[in-house]
C-alpha cells in the first residue's frame, strides 16, 4: 500500500447542494422583484436594501465573534438573505436608523440569541418587521406612493394616496362604501406589474412568481407551502365573497395585496421555521392562509400575513412532533 487510503462510511458521493448555495439561490430568486422595486422606487430602494444587508451581516459578525465566540458564519449568505427580506418588508419612506434597528432585532434577538442559523424558532426578518410595525406604527404604514405610481393609479383623484390597496379598502368598507364603489379604483393589471404602493419588495406580483418558479426549478423549495397558503386564502375569501360580494373583496384582490406572495413564497418557506414533513407543510400553509384572512377581515391590521406566519412558526415544533411523513409500509 503506497498511499494512505481514506476510509469513511457510505455513501461516498454527495449532492451539490450546500447551505450557502441554497441561500444564494433564494437571493437570485428575489432578483426580479428587486429590479421591479428599483425601477419603481428608484435609488431609495437600493439604499434601504443595502443598509439592511450591511447591518444584518455586521451584527451577525459582531455577535458571533464577541458574544458567542464561535466560528465565522456570515459566509453562508443567511444574514444577507435576512437583510434583503427585512428590507423588502419595509415601506420606502422609513428612516435609515429604523432599518438598522430592525436589523439588530432580526439578527440579534430573533436569530443569534437562539444560537444562530438553524436554531431560531421565528423567521428573523419577520420578527424585525413586526417589531418595527408595533414600535413605529406611523412610519411603518406611511406608504409614500412614488410619482410613477401616483400618476398611473390615481390620476386626478387623490383618494388613495399613501395607503396600500388593502388599507384603502379596509377603510372604505368600514366607512360604509360597498365593493362595487371601490372597485373602479383598483387595477389588478397594475398590481401584477408592481404599480401599487406597499412594502417595497412585495409590489411586483409577477416578479415574485418568477422567483417562485426559479426556486421550484432549482428544487430549493417544494410547492406545498406557497400553494397551500394561496389555496386556503382563495377558498376562504372566495366563500366570503360568494356569500356577500358587496361586503367582501374577491380572492384575487387578497392574494395580490398585502405581501401575500412575498410572504408565501419567501418568508413562510424559510427552512428553519417551517415544518419538516409534507403533511406538516400543508397544515402550516392552511394555517397561515386562514389566520391571514381572519386578521384582514375581522382584525385590526389591514394585512396580516406577517402575524400569521409568526403564529404558525410557533406551531411548527408541534407539527414536527405529531405530523409525521408518510412512512413506507405503515398503514395510514
Amino acid at each position: 500500500m503506497s498511499n494512505k487510503f481514506i476510509v469513511s462510511p457510505s455513501p461516498h458521493v454527495f449532492g451539490k447542494d450546500t447551505t450557502s448555495k441554497l441561500m444564494r439561490d433564494v437571493l437570485i430568486a428575489l432578483l426580479p422583484a428587486f429590479v421591479v422595486t428599483v425601477v419603481i422606487y428608484g435609488m431609495q430602494a437600493l439604499v434601504l436594501t443595502g443598509v439592511a444587508v450591511v447591518s444584518c451581516v455586521l451584527f451577525e459578525y459582531l455577535i458571533q465573534k464577541f458574544l458567542l465566540k464561535g466560528s465565522n458564519t456570515i459566509n453562508d449568505y443567511s444574514a444577507i438573505l435576512t437583510g434583503v427580506l427585512l428590507a423588502f418588508n419595509l415601506p420606502i419612506g422609513i428612516p435609515i436608523w429604523m432599518v438598522v434597528l430592525g436589523s439588530l432585532v432580526s439578527i440579534g434577538i430573533a436569530k443569534m440569541s437562539f444560537g444562530g442559523l438553524g436554531r431560531n424558532p421565528f423567521n428573523p426578518a419577520l420578527v424585525g418587521r413586526v417589531f418595527l410595525l408595533l414600535s413605529f406604527p406611523v412610519q411603518m404604514t406611511m406608504f409614500d406612493a412614488p410619482d410613477m405610481v401616483r400618476d398611473a393609479l390615481y390620476g386626478a383623484t387623490d383618494a388613495m394616496s399613501g395607503a396600500t390597496p388593502l388599507a384603502y379598502v379596509k377603510d372604505a368598507l368600514k366607512n360604509g362604501c360597498s365593493v362595487s364603489e371601490i372597485m373602479p379604483n383598483i387595477s389588478y393589471q397594475n398590481m401584477l406589474l408592481g404599480i401599487k404602493s406597499g412594502s417595497f419588495g412585495e409590489i411586483g406580483a409577477l416578479a415574485l412568481i418568477l422567483g417562485f418558479v426559479y426556486l421550484l426549478v432549482r428544487k430549493v423549495i417544494t410547492w406545498h407551502i406557497p400553494l397551500f397558503i394561496v389555496g386556503s386564502m382563495t377558498l376562504f375569501t372566495g366563500a366570503l365573497w360568494f356569500f356577500n360580494p358587496e361586503q367582501y373583496m374577491d380572492p384575487i384582490f387578497h392574494i395580490l395585496t398585502g405581501g401575500v406572495l412575498l410572504g408565501a413564497i419567501f418568508m413562510a418557506t424559510d427552512y428553519v421555521t417551517s415544518p419538516m414533513s409534507k403533511r406538516g407543510m400543508m397544515i402550516y400553509g392552511v394555517g397561515i392562509g386562514v389566520i391571514t384572512i381572519l386578521i384582514r377581515v375581522w382584525g385590526a391590521y389591514p394585512e396580516g400575513i406577517s402575524f400569521a406566519i409568526l403564529i404558525m412558526n410557533a406551531v411548527v415544533p408541534i407539527l414536527n412532533k405529531y405530523v409525521k411523513p408518510a412512512r413506507f409500509g405503515v398503514s395510514k
Binding site: 481514506i6 457510505s10 461516498h12 449532492g15 447551505t19 438553524g118 412512512r327 405503515v330
Partner: protein, 442 residues
C-alpha cells in the same frame, strides 16, 4: 409514464464508465484466499486442512447452519493454510488459503457453453441443489438463496421479481450480464419461477439500459410468464422493498419481509448463478466484478474467481492511478471503503471503485438548517434529521419509535444534506444499537 417507487429517491450522477466493456476473464491468480464467511448468517465450517489438494468446484467449507452457505474452491491447488487473513476493512477473519496449481475442475461440472433449457427437477430438488452449490444473493446483500426460496408456512409466492436495476452509480456488472448472458439468465429465472411456483415473473430494469431492455425483451419472447418492466431511473430502486413497490405497487409492511406481500426478489447475477448451478453443476466460484474509476486506465467488467486479491484486479485494469484517495468495494452509495487491497474478492463483491483523492474527502459539516430535504428523499418515509439527532444523543427508545429499523441504509439522506451532516453514520449506529436491544428482548 414509466413506473418507479413512490416515496423519496435521488438522482446521483450515473458515471457508468465501464458500461461498454465486455466481460473479460481475469487470468488465474497465484493464490487465493477464500473466506469461510462470505454471506449473511453463520460462517461455514472448513472441511479441508493444510496440505490438502483441492480442485475447482470442490466443497471446502460446509454451511454452518440454516442461514449459511456452502463454500467451494475456486481454483485447483494445495491448501497452504486455514487461518487468519486481513479483510478489506483491516479486520482479521478466517479463510482457506490455496496456492494455485493448474486449473483442474471437479468431475461432473459441465463446462460446455451450450444452452440447456430443460430442467426436470422438482422444486424441492432445485432448492437443495441451489443450497449445495453455495448460491447467495449477488446484488451485494449475500443472503443465502436457498433460505429466500424456502417459503414460510402459510405464505405463498405470487410474484418473482428479478432485480436488473443496478441503481448504484458506476456499477455495470449486472448490465453486462443482461447483455451477454441473457439466454442463460432467463433459463435461470424460469428455474427459479418453477422452484417457487409463482404466477408471474417480472424483470425490472431501469431505462438507462435500453440495450439490455431490448435484448431481454427478445429473449423472453418465448416465455409467456416472464415480463420485462422498464423503470424510471431513480436511486435506490434496487432496494428490495422499493423494487416491489415500483414493479407491482405493493408496500411490504414495516418490519416484514417481501414474502408478506407474496413477492420474492432475486438479482440477475443470482439468476445466472442458479442456471449454472442447476443446469451445469457449477458452484458459485466466480462472479462478474466491475472495476472502475474516473482516473482508471481501463475500466472493465471482469469474470473473477472468488478469493482473487483485489490488488490483482486493479493491476489488470491498469494499476492504481496516481492520487487515488479511496477504494470502494461495491458502489459509491452503499459500498464499503477498503483499507486493505490484498483482501480477496468474495461472492458479494459487485464492484471495485477507485475514487481520486479530491473526490474522496467529505465536505466539512455545518449546522442543520431544517431544510427537510432528507425527509423528502428518504425512500422509507423516515426523518433522518431526527434519527441522527436521537442516535447522537443515545436516545435509543425514541430512535426505535421513529422506525430506525426500517432504514435501508441507502444513503440518500447523507447524499442530499446541504449541511453535509453525517446523517447515515449516526443512523446506522443507532439502528445497530436498537437491533441489539430488540434481539435481547426475544
Amino acid at each position: 409514464m414509466l413506473k418507479s417507487f413512490r416515496l423519496g429517491g435521488i438522482h446521483p450522477p450515473e458515471n457508468k464508465i465501464s458500461r461498454g466493456a465486455a466481460i473479460e476473464q481475469l487470468p488465474l491468480p497465484e493464490s487465493v484466499v477464500i473466506p469461510i464467511s462470505q454471506h449473511i448468517g453463520a460462517p461455514a465450517v472448513a472441511i479441508v486442512a493444510k496440505g490438502d489438494s483441492v480442485v475447482v468446484g470442490q466443497l471446502i467449507a460446509k454451511a454452518g447452519g440454516f442461514v449459511s452457505s456452502n463454500i467451494h474452491s475456486s481454483v485447483s491447488g494445495v491448501v497452504t493454510a486455514v487461518g487468519d487473513f486481513v479483510d478489506a476493512s483491516g479486520l482479521r477473519r478466517v479463510g482457506v488459503i490455496i496456492k494455485v496449481e493448474g486449473d483442474t475442475w471437479l468431475e461432473g461440472i459441465d463446462r460446455d457453453s451450450s444452452l440447456n433449457k430443460i430442467c426436470d427437477l422438482e422444486p424441492k430438488e432445485i432448492v437443495s441443489k441451489i443450497a449445495a452449490m453455495g448460491i447467495v444473493g449477488m446484488g451485494g446483500a449475500t443472503f443465502p438463496t436457498q433460505v429466500k426460496l424456502s417459503i414460510p408456512e402459510g405464505k405463498k409466492a405470487v410474484y418473482l421479481i428479478i432485480n436488473g436495476v443496478e441503481c448504484e452509480p458506476y456499477l455495470t456488472a449486472d448490465h453486462r450480464v443482461m447483455l451477454e448472458r441473457a439466454e442463460e439468465m432467463v433459463v435461470g429465472i424460469s428455474i427459479l419461477a418453477k422452484a417457487l411456483g409463482v404466477v408471474r415473473t417480472y424483470i425490472g430494469v431501469e431505462n438507462n439500459k435500453p440495450d439490455a431492455i431490448a435484448h431481454i425483451s427478445k429473449v423472453i419472447a418465448e416465455y409467456p410468464n416472464i415480463d420485462i418492466i422498464p423503470l424510471k431511473v431513480k436511486y435506490p430502486q434496487g432496494g428490495e422493498k422499493q423494487l416491489i413497490d415500483a414493479v407491482v405497487a405493493l408496500e411490504v409492511p414495516s418490519g416484514a419481509i417481501p414474502i408478506e406481500v407474496g413477492a420474492v426478489v432475486q438479482n440477475v447475477g443470482t439468476a445466472l448463478a442458479i442456471y449454472e448451478a442447476v443446469q451445469k453443476n457449477k458452484p458459485l466460484i466466480e462472479r462478474v466484478v466491475t472495476v472502475t474509476g474516473k482516473k482508471l486506465e481501463k475500466p472493465s467488467n471482469l469474470m473473477v474467481r472468488v478469493g482473487t486479491s483485489i490488488d490483482s484486479l486493479i493491476t489488470y485494469c491498469g494499476g492504481l492511478p496516481e492520487n487515488s484517495g479511496k477504494v470502494i468495494g461495491g458502489g459509491p452509495m452503499m459500498g464499503r471503503a477498503m483499507c486493505n487491497l490484498s483482501a480477496p474478492v468474495t461472492k458479494g463483491t459487485s464492484g471495485v471503485l477507485i475514487m481520486p483523492s479530491e473526490e474522496s474527502l467529505r465536505r466539512s459539516s455545518s449546522v442543520c438548517i431544517k431544510c427537510a430535504k432528507c425527509v423528502g428523499v428518504c425512500p422509507m418515509g423516515l426523518e433522518p434529521y431526527l434519527l441522527y439527532k436521537l442516535a447522537d444523543l443515545g436516545r435509543l427508545a425514541d430512535t426505535e419509535e421513529h422506525k430506525v429499523t426500517d432504514c435501508i441504509e441507502c444513503g440518500s439522506c447523507s447524499f442530499t444534506c446541504p449541511a453535509s451532516l453525517p446523517l447515515l453514520d449516526m443512523i446506522k449506529l443507532g439502528k445497530n444499537e436498537v437491533m441489539k436491544i430488540i434481539r435481547t428482548r426475544k
